[in-house]
């Protein structure tokens, strides 16, 4: 190690469910180079200081969505956040906000998975279609209606960013609503009424108070906040017009 080796302090929120009553911080001095991400910093700690440090990662290129953490209080993908941008200050990494901590930086995503499943994230065909009818044809403008929402990588940074998720854990939340919107906007789909039941419910879109931070932290520019807010308009139409329209959403 040369004399010019830079060392950054990384404060990690540690929690071991088998021995700890509650999470506590631990500080590590990590030598780093300018190309090292926060995730690599965590790896350095695991390899050199404490092999029990637990965190999720896979792709290391901001595409799998598994490495989300609170970095100095901001939800970010740790693989695309660089230590050099925080040096010489100490950097604090914690498990994502608003989720129960399983161990160290790993959170329990089962609540999110249930929400994701509940919005039926697949095409519900308008009518049965036979093979002879061939493929679906979509125009570029029909495609443009939903393509943005397909970029979601389920990193759940938007849940960590949303105070309303923190205040009401039952709120379906930004990413799941954005995905519901993705299918609702798809010309092949006919599941709007079924999804409306959930979106217009007490766990639905009106939990949102337009803070907008979800869209700001989204690493894929999905803009889940806009999907939520557009569905407030859809749900209001459904609420007031349900007696007029034969299709009407929920009961």
């Amino acid at each position: 190690m040369s004399d010019t080796q830079k060392i950054i302090e990384i404060e990690v929120l540690r929690y071991n469910p088998e021995s700890d009553q509650e999470p506590h911080s631990q500080v590590y001095k990590v030598p780093f180079t300018d190309d090292m991400s926060v995730l690599q910093g965590a790896q350095y700690i695991k390899d050199n200081f404490d092999g029990s440090l637990t965190y999720r990662w896979s792709c290391r290129m901001a595409i799998c969505g598994s490495c989300g953490m609170m970095i100095n209080g901001v939800p970010k993908l740790s693989c695309e956040t660089f230590l050099r941008d925080y040096y010489p200050n100490r950097i604090r990494i914690e498990a994502m906000a608003h989720f129960p901590i399983e161990k160290d930086l790993v959170v329990d995503l089962s609540g999110f998975m249930e929400k994701l499943e509940a919005i039926q994230p697949y095409i519900i065909p308008k009518e049965p279609r036979t093979l002879e009818q061939g493929e679906y044809i979509q125009t570029p403008s029909q495609f443009a209606e939903f393509i943005q929402y397909t970029s979601c990588i389920n990193c759940t940074l938007c849940y960590a960013a949303c105070p309303q998720v923190g205040l009401n854990p039952d709120f379906i939340g930004p990413a799941a609503i954005a995905l519901a919107h993705r299918y609702n906007m798809d010309s092949r789909d006919g599941g709007q009424a079924q999804r409306m039941e959930l979106l217009a419910s007490e766990d639905g879109v009106y939990n949102c108070s337009a803070v907008g931070y979800c869209s700001e932290v989204c690493p894929k520019h999905v803009d889940p906040g806009n999907a939520v807010n557009v569905n407030k308009i859809h749900a209001a139409k459904d609420y007031f017009l349900r007696f007029l329209s034969p299709k009407g959403g929920s009961k």
Partner: protein
Amino acid sequence: MKNTKIRKRSNAPIFWGLFGGGGMLAALFGPMLVFITGLAIPLGLLLPADTMSYAKMLAFAQNILGKGFIFAVIALFMWHAAHRIFHSLHEFGVHAGTGCKLLTYGVAFVSTIVAAVILLGL
């Protein structure tokens, strides 16, 4: 959250609709209205001195469009504010009790009734 849970439809569209209507009205006309009624008239700026004289205001409030405008401004501003304040209370950790509702939506409701009764009586 369980997928088998029976979910109640939210009645929020009513309050959210009033919030949005009031917010839009306040954003479009609010600043100018405050300037006219609260600053320009009392200070005698810009507008003729008798702009808000009794005769003129009474005539305005007796006109059907004038009535509608006054009613919309007072009622929608109140519902807009009530909705926001109600949510902020929740966000500060004061949770949705009947007290909070009375303090916010209750006051908006009473204001709406008072404005309507007076306007209809003029």
